[in-house]
Amino acid sequence: MKLIQLADSALPVGGAAHSFGLETLVAEELLTRETLAAFLRDYLEEIGVLEAGFCRAAYHVACSNWPVLNQELSARKPARENREASLILGRRFLQLLGTLEGCEIPEGESHYAMAFGYAGRMLRVPESSTAAVYLQQSVTALVSACLRLMPVGQQRAARLLWDLKPAILKAVQASAVAELAAVPAFTPLLEIASMRHVVLETRLFIS
C-alpha cells in the first residue's frame, strides 16, 4: 500500500514537471498519437530494462556502495536533461520517504530508479514487484506528459497504460537476468530530443 502511494503521479516530488524529451519529439512531429503505443513499448524495452536493473541493484546495495552505483547510472544517461531530472526526482523522493517512513536514507546523489528500489526494500516489498511498480509509474508519467502534449484523451491514456502491462513485466524479467553493466539501452532519438529541449521556443516542461 505504501509503495503504491509512493508511485502515485501526484506524489509531491515534481515528476510532472519533466517530459524526458517527449516535448521535443512531439513539437518536432517525431512522436504522434499514432506512434505513441509503439514508442512506449520500445522505451520499456530499452530504458525500462536498464532502470529496472538499477532499481533492483539499489534494492540490494549497501549504503557504502551507493555513490558508485549512482555514478554508473549517471554514465548510462548521456543527456544532461534526463540525468539531472532523474537525480532531482530521486533526491526529493528519498527525502519524502525518510519523512513519511522515518527511515534512514542514503546520502549524496540518487537517481530516481535507485531511490525507488531502496524504498521497496525499506517497505519489504519483493524486489520484482518494486521494479514493476517503478516502471508502471515511469510510463504513467510519460503518458501524463503526453496528455498535455498531444490529442490523447483520458480513455485512450488508460487503454495505453493497460496494454503496457505485459511490456512492463517483460522488462522486469529481462532486468533480472542481465549483467547490469552490459544492459543495452539504445534510444538516440529520444536522447537528442532531450538535448534539444532547451532550444524549443515554447515549453510546458522544464529543461
Binding site: L25, L30, F39, D42, P78, F186, L190, I192, M195
Partner: protein, 283 residues
C-alpha cells in the same frame, strides 16, 4: 573463410628533445596494420589504421590497444569506412575491441570513417577509454544504415555497440546498444525515427573547470541550431563531468561529416587554442 585474430598495439610517446610525438608499434598482427606516423604541425603524430582484409569478416576478432603517454598528442583515422561483411547464419559475430589509455596531459583525436554494416552482418564492438588527469579526447563515430546505394538500409542481423569512458577510474560514459532491426525496429521514435545515420562525438579534457564546459556548450549550441535541417538533427549536452557529447541523426552521411568538422574546429580552439587539422586523405 578463415577467421582473423588481428591485433594492433600502439604507444605514442612524447620526445621532449625534439618536442614531438613518436609512434611505437608494440605489436601488429594481420589484418590490422599501421604503416607509419606523419608528423603534424605542433608535433602531434597522425596514423592511419589499415585493415588488409578490406573489411570485417564473420568471426573476426580485431583488437586495438593504444596508449598515449603523458604530454603526447596523437591523431588516429582510418583509410576508409569500416565495412562489416555479411555473416553466415551459423557464424560467430565479428568482435571489434579497443582499449585506449590517454595519460596525463596527453591528447587523442580519434576520427575514423563510418561503420557500414552490410546486409546480414553480425558484429559486436566494445571500446573502453581511460583518461588520466589533464588528458584530452576528441572521439567521433558514425554508424551508417548499410550499403544505401544497393538499397541496404537496416538489413544487418545484429550490432552490439559499447563505449565506456572513465576519467581517473570514475565512469563518465557507458553507452550500450543492441541493434537488431528485426526484433527491435530501428525506425521507432525512440531509436532512429525517420533518420538513418547516427553519429556521436565526445569532446573531453579531464580537469577543466565547469565554466569552460558551460561556455563551450553555448558556442556549440549555436552550431547545433545552425547545422540542424529537415534532414539532420544535432544535439549536445554536458557529460556528468570533464566534457560534452554531440550527437546527430541524419538521413545522409554527408551532412554528418561536415557538421563533425565544424564542432571539432570550435572545440579544439576553445580547449587547446589550436586549429583542428583534418587528417590527410579524402576530405
Amino acid at each position: 573463410m578463415a577467421e582473423n585474430h588481428g591485433l594492433l598495439s600502439l604507444r605514442f610517446a612524447y620526445d621532449s628533445e625534439v618536442a614531438r610525438t613518436r609512434l611505437h608499434v608494440l605489436e601488429q598482427r594481420q589484418p590490422l596494420k599501421v604503416v607509419r606516423a606523419f608528423e603534424l604541425p605542433g608535433g602531434a603524430a597522425l596514423i592511419h589504421l589499415h585493415n588488409l582484409s578490406g573489411g570485417v569478416l564473420a568471426g573476426d576478432k580485431l583488437s586495438l590497444e593504444v596508449a598515449v603517454d603523458a604530454n603526447a598528442r596523437a591523431q588516429i583515422t582510418s583509410t576508409g569506412a569500416t565495412r562489416i561483411y555479411k555473416s553466415r547464419a551459423e557464424a560467430h559475430p565479428a568482435e571489434l575491441m579497443a582499449r585506449i589509455e590517454v595519460r596525463e596531459n596527453a591528447l587523442l583525436e580519434y576520427l575514423p570513417d563510418p561503420l557500414i554494416p552490410f546486409s546480414h552482418a553480425k558484429c559486436s564492438q566494445n571500446t573502453a577509454v581511460h583518461l588520466s588527469d589533464g588528458a584530452g579526447l576528441f572521439w567521433w563515430e558514425t554508424l551508417a544504415p548499410g550499403r544505401e546505394a544497393r538499397g541496404e538500409v537496416f538489413l544487418y542481423d545484429m550490432l552490439q555497440l559499447g563505449f565506456e569512458l572513465r576519467v581517473a577510474g570514475v565512469p563518465i560514459v557507458n553507452e550500450r546498444g543492441s541493434l537488431n532491426p528485426v526484433l527491435r525496429p530501428l525506425t521507432s521514435s525512440a531509436r532512429f525515427g525517420p533518420y538513418r545515420y547516427l553519429s556521436t562525438f565526445y569532446i573531453c579534457r579531464a580537469g577543466m573547470a565547469e565554466t569552460t564546459w558551460l561556455d563551450l556548450e553555448k558556442q556549440l549550441a549555436v552550431l547545433a541550431i545552425q547545422a540542424t535541417s529537415p534532414v539532420i538533427i544535432w544535439g549536445l549536452t554536458r557529460l556528468p563531468a570533464h566534457g560534452l557529447v554531440v550527437r546527430a541523426l541524419s538521413q545522409n552521411g554527408r551532412d554528418i561529416t561536415r557538421g563533425l568538422m565544424a564542432f571539432w574546429r570550435v572545440a579544439k580552439q576553445a580547449l587547446y587554442g589550436q586549429e583542428a587539422l583534418v587528417p590527410r586523405k579524402i576530405y
